[in-house]
């Protein structure tokens, strides 16, 4: 892994286009409105609602990761992606681990 700059790109991270930002924005709005509607006008059972809104949240997270934060671009090796994956694994461990432990008494 050399410490040379290896291309003449003159920007530090991925760039994206107006299209990708607008698409990301619109998708995020939709993914916010759906859970809102489901909670304010409950049509599903409580558990189903929780599952659906969590899924929408994760989806919106992924949308913003790719459309706003340009995760797929950036020069290789993509250490930032690996760091993010590690971070997600750790966060899941902390949250799920704590819930499992603290409810197991």
């Amino acid at each position: 892994m050399a410490n040379h700059g290896n291309q003449n790109a003159h920007h530090a991270a991925g760039h994206g286009s107006l299209k990708s930002y607008v698409l990301g924005f619109v998708l995020s709005i939709v993914l916010t409105i759906i859970p809102l509607v489901l909670v304010m006008n409950p049509v599903l059972s409580k558990t189903a609602t929780v599952v659906v809104i969590m899924m929408m949240a994760v989806l919106q997270f992924v949308v913003q990761l790719f459309f706003f934060m340009h995760l797929r671009e950036g020069e290789k090796p993509r250490w930032n992606v690996q760091a993010l994956v590690l971070g997600i694994v750790i966060v899941l461990t902390i949250v799920i681990g704590s819930i499992l432990i603290m409810t197991s008494f």
């Binding site: 892994m1 590690l86 603290m102």
Partner: protein
Amino acid sequence: MWESLKEFASTFFVTGDPLIYGSDVAIVLTLAAIVFVLTKYKKWGWLWREWLTTVDHKKIGIMYLISALLMLFRGGVDALLMRAQLAFPNLEFLDSNHYNEIFTTHGTIMILFMAMPLLFALFNWVVPLQIGARDVAFPFLNAVSFWLFFFGALLFNISFVIGGSPDAGWLSYPPLSEEPFSMGPGQNFWIWGIQISGIGSLMTGINFIVTILKMRAPGMTLMKMPMFTWSVLSSCIMIIIAFPVLTVTIALLYLDRFLGAHFFTLDGGGNPMMYINLIWMWGHPEVYIVVVPAFGIYSDVVATFSRKKLFGYASMVAAVMSIAIVSYFTWGHHFFTMGTGAGVIAFFAVATMLIAIPTGVKVFNWMFTMFRGRISFKLPMLWTIAFIPCFVIGGATGVMLSMAPADYQYHNSYFLIGHFHQTLIGGVVFGYLAGMYYWWPKLFGFKLNEKLGQWAFWFWNIGFYVCFMPQYALGFMGMTRRYYTYGWDYGWETLNLVSTIGAFLMGIGFLFQVWQILYSIKNMEKEKDTTGDPWDGRTLEWSIPSPAPFYNFAVIPKVKDVDDWWRIKQEKANGTYKEEPVVLEPIHMPKNSGIPFVMAVFWFIAGFGFVWEWSWMAIIGMIGVFACMWARSFVYNDEYYVSVDEVRRIEASYGRVY
């Protein structure tokens, strides 16, 4: 007015104990002496320019080392005080309150203010030199990390004379550490000393990950890095995933105390067990954070002093990286007895047993490296060889503790104390001492005296076993940790006395080391390192002069192999070395800055305000912190170039001609 001042002083200062008054006098005299010397020899400017504003990783490393050794002294004195109190039954040398304060400060200091800075000292000294870099990725941030550590440690350390020490154990479990049970600033000193220096640690983790991933010399792929650098990478990954949890957890404890929140209280919907869950999520990786770099040191030392390539490099890498990940999944073994469900306990027991495997792989690889090597018993190697049986025993007792049903007997007994001291001293302390001896000549230009070092080594080692082996037996005999005294009727007195003698033997070992350092400084010409390669080393740091020039490498090396310096020496010896035409270029270096020091002072002020719950002071301090960040944002001119002529001149003074 005089009355209220006296009343304030009686709570602000710790009163009533002659030992404390003696310490007050010693502190004032020492500070006065330092001010006097600096003023007399007109060294204030030098201090500011060369040390307080430096961003040079080597100097930062030296400051970490000095701090760590001072903390080793204080933590060691705490230990001797405890062992003195326990030497005989029913002694009244320390009352229970004082004893609680001392075991609390002993543990906190040894792990957070001795081991951490010691490992950061070695990270800073060695990693850039091993990878062929001129500094770390973020030199300014590196300085911030050090000064945050320094002022965090200072905040913690003054508690025993100002306000009162914390006394709820090194991890401050609630509900004992909550407001109704621990009134006063002592507990807050614990929280804020750790909080401030913890931020510094986190920054160091980020710094060295980026340094190692992005600043290696051309040709040095990851699988050609020295094992110490791999171990630093592993340790830093653990730092970044563990320390945020510590930051949150102790902040929540402070919110309970300061704002009456109910995170870990007994009432209002709080749950003290959540604290224990969270704090060990940090606490377990923390012990791997401190031991893994020691493993890295052993790998480098064993190869060098057996004059043989490290056995099983790839498996060592796999082992050290898997330790980093698995260490995050074992935290529950610290509270097997807390009452969680059986499924939870079983998971953690198995995970804990599993993590012994990669460690075992490493031990075998070190031994296979030594097999058929030409072993040289210099101090770094002595400590390495001593570590192996010591740590293996400690690790084996760890596996015993991981058997959850058995742990119901061992938990919080002296068996546990034996286990963790064996792994921490045998693994961590022995390792960092080996590292200190090994890399000392590179930083200072002379070796430490072997003879005095050997005296220290034997006192430490014999003292260690005499101190801690009886403690396993005491655990089986029912002695619980944190007892400040015991009666004659338990039958514990003989082993306790033996243990105390062992502790004092270790203390004598430490005194020999102090003597060794002072003697070697006085006689540095005798042990001077004139070649830069006093041990006939294998890795890049031995290819530059000692002490290393401030820019480290005049020419960034091009690496072909693992142990590349050894390859170069071999090729030179058998005539196959291809000399590369070398062109000196101006060297890009970072400028010094006063902002890290000033910002840390503001953190100290804020911390002091938080400790005493004086909001005005805390607010002023935090405003100062943010003002420093704001000022830093406006700095655009923070680097300079070293001219080719100057590089040539400096290299020539070492006898290296370009």
